[in-house]
Point group: C2
Chain length 261, copies 2
C-alpha cells in the first residue's frame, strides 16, 4: 500500500475501468477529503490515457526541435506527449518527458534500439492498450526498417544536408541505421551533418507514430508493411515449433547472419 491509503495501481486488472471512472486504480489528487474541503479534484485516469488526434506537421517540427534540446528519444517522446499536453492539457502535462532522455544513441550511445523509435514507442504505449501498442509498434518498426530516412526537411534547417542524403536502415538498431547512412552519404558518424540527419529522423519517426495513433484511434489503422522473408524462412528451423527453436526475434536475420542450408 502506498502512503495516503492509495492502493498501488495494478496492471491488467485495471484495464478498461477508465471509461467507467471506477475509483479503484485512480489516484485522486487534490485536497478535498483530507482537509474537509469539498470540491472537484483532478483524477489520474487509468491507462491507457485518452488520445486526441494530433497535427502531424506540428509533431514533426517538435521532434526536430526536441532533438536539439534533448536528443532523439526525448525528442520523439516529447513531440507527441508535449503535443498532447498542449492540446489536452491534463494529465499529459504531469509526465516528465525527460525520463526518455536515456534512449539517445541507441540507449546512452550503445547503438542499440533507435532512440527516436524508443521515445515514440513509449508515447504510443501511453495512449494504447497492449494489443494496440503491439500492432502499432510492429508497423512502426517495419516502416522504419524499409523507409528512406530522413525525408523530413524543416523550413529552417539548423544544418544543411543534401536532399538525397538518405538511406534505408534495414534494421531498428541505431548502429546499423547510422552506419548505413554514413556509408551511403560519406558523412562521418560524429559530424554535425549526421546529427542533423538524426534530428530529421526524429521528426519523421514522431510524425509517423502520430499518424499511426491518429488512424488507430479513428478506427482506420491497417498494417501496410510485411515482415522480411528471412523471419519465416530462418524461423522454420530456429523459430517457434522448429527443430532448433533457439531464436525469438523479428529482426531481418540476413542483416547480421549469412544464409545457410
Amino acid at each position: 500500500m502506498a502512503k495516503n491509503g492509495i492502493s498501488r495501481r495494478r496492471f491488467f486488472a485495471d484495464a478498461g475501468k477508465f471509461a467507467t471512472g471506477a475509483a479503484l486504480g485512480m489516484v485522486i489528487l487534490g485536497i478535498g477529503s483530507r482537509t474537509g474541503i469539498q470540491g472537484r479534484a483532478q483524477e489520474v485516469p487509468n491507462w491507457p490515457w485518452p488520445y486526441e488526434a494530433l497535427d502531424l506537421e506540428e509533431v514533426a517540427l517538435q521532434g526536430y526541435e526536441g532533438y536539439y534540446e534533448g536528443k532523439c528519444s526525448f525528442g520523439a517522446f516529447h513531440a507527441i506527449v508535449g503535443a498532447l499536453a498542449d492540446k489536452v492539457g491534463y494529465p499529459f502535462n504531469i509526465i516528465p518527458t525527460e525520463m526518455l532522455y536515456f534512449g539517445h544513441g541507441g540507449v546512452v550511445g550503445w547503438g542499440n534500439y533507435c532512440g527516436a523509435l524508443n521515445g515514440a514507442c513509449a508515447a504510443i504505449n501511453l495512449v494504447t492498450n497492449k494489443e494496440g501498442a503491439d500492432a502499432l509498434i510492429k508497423e512502426l518498426n517495419l516502416w522504419y526498417e524499409q523507409t528512406p530516412i530522413p525525408l523530413y526537411k524543416p523550413s529552417s534547417p539548423k544544418v544543411e544536408i543534401p536532399d538525397d542524403a538518405v538511406s534505408i536502415a534495414g534494421s531498428t538498431l541505431c548502429h546499423v541505421s547510422v552506419t548505413r547512412w554514413c556509408n551511403a552519404t560519406g558523412f562521418k558518424a560524429k559530424s554535425k551533418e549526421r546529427s542533423e540527419r538524426c534530428a530529421r529522423l526524429t521528426a519523421q519517426v514522431a510524425q509517423k507514430a502520430a499518424e499511426l495513433l491518429n488512424l488507430y484511434h479513428a478506427g482506420a489503422f491497417t498494417p501496410e508493411h510485411t515482415m522480411p522473408a528471412s523471419v519465416a524462412e530462418c524461423g522454420a528451423c530456429h523459430g517457434p515449433g522448429g527443430p532448433i527453436e533457439n531464436v525469438k526475434a523479428k529482426m531481418d536475420c540476413l542483416m547480421c547472419h549469412e544464409r545457410h542450408p
Copy 2:
C-alpha cells in the same frame, strides 16, 4: 501553451529548479485558485523526481512477479516505480507504469534492446538527471553484458529451472541474450523454462538498477565494469576521429563482426 494557462514544461531549462520550488515548470494540481477554495494543492515536481533508497529484495520480487503480470519491460519499470509509489507515494503513483509494456521481447518481440533493461532505464531516468542516467545506464549495460544471468531465484518459483541454467549474454540485445541462454541450457526459445528465465532476469535487472540508484543517491556510486576491448580497438579506425568514422556504438563489435586487419 497547454489548457488552463499551464506552460508546457521544457527540458533542460527547468533542470535544477526543483530544489527551490520555483513555480515555473511546475504543474499545480488541485482546485484552489479555480474555485476560490484555498488549500494545499499537490505540485508535480520538476524532473528528476526525488528518490528514496529501496529494499533490493523487494524490488527483485516485484520484478519477478511483474514479469508474469506484464512481461519484462513493464516488470522492471513497475518494480522500481511501483516500489517508489509504495514508499514515497505521490508523485510516483501518478505514472502509468503500463506505458513500458511495449519493451517486451526486445520491443514487441523484435529481439532488440532487452526489455528488462529498457524498463529499468526509464525508471533510472525518472529519478536521475542526464549525467546520472548516462553513468548508471552505461554501468547497467556493461554489467548485463558480462554477468551470469539469471542468478535470482524466487522462494516460490512458478517454474523450476536448474540453478546452473545460466549464461552470459555478451550483448544487451534480447535476441542474443535469449539465444545464448537457449544454446547453453538446451531449453527452447518459447518454452515455459525460457519465460521463467526471463522473469528471473527481470528481477535481477530491476534489483541491479535499484542497487545503482541507491548508491548514486547516497553519493557512493563508482563504475565497476569496463568496455569490451573491441570498442576502442575497432574504434581506432571506425570510431570518433578515426579515418573511417562510420560507427557510433558501444556494443562489443566482435559479437557480430569478425576481426580484420
